[in-house]
């Protein structure tokens, strides 16, 4: 029932299977982890980069400059607070264009995109979001030179906020 919106809907499965399909043809047979949905050690980080790459077409760089502040555990998945901030002079020649928030393990992975204007608004925002299950929430900030910075925060939620 998404007929009202013309924007494409990205689910984690659709994004990752698009890439996996290419791999599968080369290796023959289903990928070894086809039935195992649990992330393995080290896989979660690659997964994050992969998700952002497929969404934006760019490879993000993990950065301490971009701060995504979220509670480590939260009792319900309906209203999880998040704060995002990045140091920037916000001049014409050095500013942040937007910050995009993604929840890769939600049924629909996109959360929100915040657009900023040099000299007029600061790249700092707080809001509340829904989480379907415990996961790494990702934030990416695009700078005016096209660089994509990424930060992530692990959030454990006790109840599904998307049901």
């Amino acid at each position: 029932m998404f007929g009202k919106s013309a924007a494409p809907k990205y689910t984690r499965r659709a994004l990752l299977s698009a890439g996996a399909a290419g791999l599968a043809t080369a290796t023959l047979g289903p990928p070894a982890n086809a039935t195992d949905e649990r992330p393995r050690v080290g896989e979660e980080a690659d997964d994050a980069v992969e998700v952002i790459k497929r969404l934006t077409g760019k490879t993000p760089v993990a950065s301490d400059r971009l701060r995504l502040v979220m509670p480590r555990t939260f009792p319900n998945g309906y209203t999880v607070p998040l704060g995002i901030e990045i140091e920037s002079p916000m001049t014409e020649s050095d500013h942040v264009r937007y910050i995009r928030v993604v929840a890769p393990r939600n049924p629909l992975i996109e959360v929100a995109t915040f657009h900023f204007v040099p000299q007029r608004s600061m790249p700092r925002v707080s809001t509340r979001m829904r989480l379907a299950e415990p996961q790494f929430v990702l934030a990416v900030a695009e700078l005016n030179d096209g660089t994509l910075l990424m930060a992530k925060a692990w959030v454990d939620v006790a109840t599904n906020g998307c049901a």
Binding site: T79, V80, M122, V125
Partner: protein, 108 residues
Amino acid sequence: MAAVMPRVQVPSSVSKGEVFQIKALISHRMETGLRRDYEGNIIPRDIINKFVCRYNGVDVFTVDLHEAVSANPYFEFYLRATENGQLEFVWYEDGGKLYSLAHQLVVD
């Protein structure tokens, strides 16, 4: 559905060049389109999909919202005071309806 009501909180006066905080909230259930009613029919999506803050007619802060933004979307954001003038806040709902508020900003 309860009445949709937008609210904003803006400082009464700010000095020129100062960065100030704005809080914007709209009471809205943000129906995701993923839920089903008791008869098993999908409840159609009905969300606020865009929020814009204009400062004397210029878009200075914009948000694209998706289904994962909580019900009663709330934003705290920061603008730089450049001149006296009008701040306008607009929320766009699925189906084309919009809700707006205006606020006169005094810059010393």
